[in-house]
């Protein structure tokens, strides 16, 4: 930036005054004391910024054109593409919630430096949704089995796996505005986007999807700035030590919740959506969440009163297992999915046991049985083998079987005369501390209590254009696809497990 532009930038920030023509109170009050001035995390004029972002967009869209001409979609491993039908809209939901979140932050924070940064971030989040929707269009048009891709966002909001994303990212724009900053900019973007947007592209490339890698890396190039927004906000709020207890509480809450949602979903995509696995998910987590985020980023703030999350050790204990358990549950629920599941085969068994000793004992029998029941002629599905459907956690929305089925930590809490299932002590603490944020979401099983499974699938709309073949299938390569008639023959009735507690 030339000197004159620096001056213009500084001048732009000085257009700030306490106006008297309108209500000065923020639309959403905050419990934090926010100083009027802080360190500018952005240092750039929006005009120049937009030019730079437009260039990034051009490159990404240009790549998609090239990928189309070269038929690159045919090179993608089916397993990767199918899991992505859930995780990509999960991410787009996060972007949408972040657009609203940054708007809320701009409205509530009376600090010009930070507003400038969040204004740019809001445009970034819009850009990301557009990139992801363009990518999805590319998949719809060029992936060999587009079923599900044509209705992913709508499907997401109805599917239990989608509710994990909805429950997590609602925190970007609900509750206290600084708590939202802690969740969006500090925990999700600083601790987790390297896993999501740096490691996942490596996995995508290893599994043939260069379009996703290109899109995600373009998105990631904005994240450093969002991290700076979060850092700038924290340092501003930490100027007043009365804010410290609330900040530590927000960090504790969102670190736990983000761990439940993202470690489960991203871990699942990284390992169960991959044939080639360059990393074990638990190692990615150690690298970026523990060694970068806690050991470096948070450590720098401990002198100002910031504490590492108290549940860090418990999170470390659960991280190696969460996504395996989610993978098992999503495979067991395959008729309710809007993507094709896959079976795990001997090379997968070997890799999992090598990287997660004990995996075979915990999950091997399930995957063998899953494989044996893949063909519709067998006439059985895994849901029939369960003594009861697992409740979904009222906070994180994961099935209550975590971290592993044999170590299930589910518990029941009561609030307002109703009973709710939560998956863990961490989620119980969050529910008890902020019950109104979580008590009003209807559970998936409650919604369909007493329904025949075939009718549930039809109600969700998870059938192919012929109106009878399911979108969800137990594997990616069985000869005959399951139809709604196959499911109806099972006479499987959904029973809300909480009704019998």
């Amino acid at each position: 930036m030339s000197k004159s532009l620096v001056e213009v930038h500084e001048k732009a920030k000085s257009y700030d005054w306490d106006f008297t023509s309108g209500d000065q109170h923020p639309k959403y009050p905050t419990r934090y004391i926010i100083p009027k001035h802080g360190k500018d995390p952005f240092r750039m004029l929006i005009r120049d910024y937009m030019r730079m972002e437009a260039e990034k967009d051009d490159r990404t869209y240009g790549f998609l054109d090239g990928a189309l001409r070269m038929g690159m979609a045919d090179e993608i491993q089916p397993r990767f593409m199918e899991c992505l039908k859930l995780t990509l809209p999960d991410l787009t939901n996060a972007e949408f919630q972040a657009v609203a979140g940054t708007g809320m932050i701009i409205t509530c924070i009376q600090n010009q430096e930070l507003r400038q940064g969040y204004q740019a971030q809001m445009m970034d989040e819009v850009r990301h949704t557009q990139l992801e929707m363009a990518l999805r269009r590319y998949y719809v048009e060029h992936w060999r089995d587009p079923a599900g891709w044509d209705a992913t966002q709508k499907s997401l909001y109805q599917h239990p796996g989608g509710l994990v994303s909805i429950a997590l990212f609602q925190n970007f724009n609900t509750g206290d505005v600084i708590d939202s900053v802690v969740n969006l900019n500090v925990v999700v973007e600083t601790a987790y986007t390297n896993i999501l947007l740096v490691a996942v592209p490596q996995i995508a490339v290893a599994n043939g999807d260069h379009a996703l890698a290109t899109t995600f890396l373009s998105i990631q190039s904005d994240e450093a700035r969002h991290m700076a927004n979060g850092y700038g906000s924290l340092m501003a709020v930490l100027q007043d030590d009365r804010n410290v207890p609330a900040l530590n509480e927000a960090l504790e809450r969102h670190f736990w919740h983000t761990h439940r949602g993202l470690d489960a979903l991203v871990g699942w995509q990284s390992e169960y959506g991959a044939t080639v696995r360059p990393w074990a998910y638990k190692d990615q987590w150690q690298e970026w969440v523990v060694d970068d985020f806690v050991s470096s980023y948070l450590d720098r703030m401990t002198d100002l009163g910031i504490r590492p999350p108290e549940r860090l050790g418990k999170v470390a204990h659960d991280v190696p297992w969460l996504h395996h358990t989610l993978g098992m549950a999503l495979a067991a629920f395959w008729p309710l999915n809007f993507w094709r599941s896959d079976a795990m085969y001997e090379p997968d068994f070997e890799w999992f046991e090598n990287h997660y000793p004990g995996w075979h004992d915990a999950y091997g029998a399930f995957w063998q049985a899953h494989r044996q029941m893949a063909d519709p002629s067998v006439g059985r599905i895994m849901l029939q083998e369960l003594p009861a459907l697992p409740p979904f956690c009222q906070v994180c929305q994961l099935p209550c079987a975590m971290p592993r089925l044999d170590q299930n930590e589910m518990r029941i809490v009561e609030y307002g005369g109703s009973r709710f299932a939560v998956c863990s002590e961490g989620c119980e603490w969050i529910f008890t501390r902020w019950p109104e944020a979580h008590a009003h979401r209807k559970s998936f099983w409650e919604r369909y209590h007493g329904w025949d499974l075939a009718d549930v699938i039809l109600d969700l709309g998870f059938v192919r254009p012929d109106g009878r073949t399911l979108i969800g299938q137990p594997t990616i390569d069985q000869e005959r696809l399951w139809t709604i008639d196959d499911i109806r023959r099972l006479r499987f009735e959904v029973k809300d497990p909480l009704q019998s507690v």
Binding site: D283, Q286, E287, V290, D291, V294, S295, L298, D299, T302, P308, L312, G313, V315, A316
Partner: protein
């Protein structure tokens, strides 16, 4: 004379014949991070983007893979042609880079000199000007040899909460300048110039168990860390292995016992490698052999090593094989500066 261009600042400086890049930068009022100045700590690690250098002195802190990636130690590199180096990893602002040497200069007074073992001394320096030092447990200082510009690096053995003093643990080396000073002219009440604090060794903020391995005078930074952990109410399990040759080479054992009283999660495992009395109930053998025997799996540990290079060289592959991630092994090599 070679020109050294420094990224990411787009600045350059001249480096004279037989001058290290670090010395030239400091001489010309620039600042890059540094520590021991003799290849032992790795603080001055920089990326050589273009040009070539010759190594001068020890480069212990530079691993083979780092060398292959183009990393150099500025304190142990003399340019053989014009070079471009990148110091982005030091995370200095341009203002800090241009502000010159920012390492503190401290005037101290010798308060006590005590024998810990036949060849290890404890030296307590009382801060005179300024009257306190702010540091992180695990860091070291450079002590100036009186009447010269030479310095010798020693870890602080006291915790940061005892900010009015600097406790050093000094191994007497035949012919070593500081050893000669201790054996000869240095007296209680003498004044010593000290520079620091330096170095990046510190307890990392994680959830993992802590493994410490000390050999010889290497106990010093670990003692500081242990006292600091106890002071802060640490609850992470800590295991300290301390290797010595003979019983009379073990020291500060009572101090460690006091720390253990204050921090019950500490387990202390002394070991003797050369000779031990018949009633010795502790471990025997090289300290790394003892670690191998006692801890078959080390997944979920952060490791801190301080001692002579052969001990560190033996420990690192063992720790890696037992499951410690490479990034979670932190060490402070005790490198004799050598020579009078």
């Amino acid at each position: 004379m070679s020109k050294i261009q420094v990224l990411p600042y787009d600045r350059a400086f001249e480096c004279a014949e037989e001058e290290t890049i670090l010395a030239a930068a400091l001489r010309q009022g620039l600042y890059v991070r540094y520590g021991c100045k003799h290849g032992g700590c790795g603080t001055c690690k920089s990326l050589l983007v273009d040009g070539d250098v010759e190594e001068s002195g020890s480069t212990f802190a530079l691993g083979p893979s780092e060398r292959a990636e183009g990393w150099i130690l500025a304190c142990a590199s003399q340019p053989s042609e014009d070079c471009v180096i990148d110091v982005s990893s030091m995370e200095l602002t341009e203002e800090e880079f241009l502000a010159g040497d920012q390492i503190g200069s401290l005037l101290t007074e010798v308060e006590t000199i005590q024998s810990l073992t036949p060849d290890i001394r404890s030296v307590r320096l009382r801060l005179v000007e300024p009257d306190a030092i702010t540091f992180v447990a695990g860091q070291f200082v450079n002590v100036e040899i009186p009447g010269s510009e030479d310095v010798r690096a020693f870890s602080l053995a006291n915790p940061p909460s005892e900010a009015d003093r600097i406790d050093l643990i000094v191994k007497l080396l035949p012919g070593g300048r500081f050893s000669q000073l201790l054996a000869g002219t240095l007296r209680v009440g003498d004044r010593l110039r000290v520079y620091g604090p330096l170095g990046q060794l510190k307890i990392r903020l994680t959830y993992r168990r802590i493994l410490m391995i000390a050999g010889g005078s290497g106990l010093a930074p670990l003692l500081s860390m242990l006292a600091d952990l106890a002071h802060k109410g640490n609850t992470r399990p800590v295991t300290l292995f301390f290797g010595a040759r003979r019983p009379e080479d073990l020291y500060c054992v009572e101090q460690i016992a006091r720390i253990r009283d204050a921090m019950p999660v500490l387990e202390f495992i002394p070991s003797l490698s050369d000779a031990w009395p018949t009633d010795w109930s502790g471990e025997t053998g090289l300290v790394t052999e003892v670690v191998a025997r006692r801890l078959p799996s080390l997944e979920g540990y952060d490791a801190y090593l301080a001692g002579p290079p052969p001990m560190i060289d033996a420990a690192i592959p063992l720790l890696r094989a037992r499951g410690v991630r490479a990034r979670n092994i932190h060490f402070d090599a005790f490198l004799p500066t050598g020579g009078p």
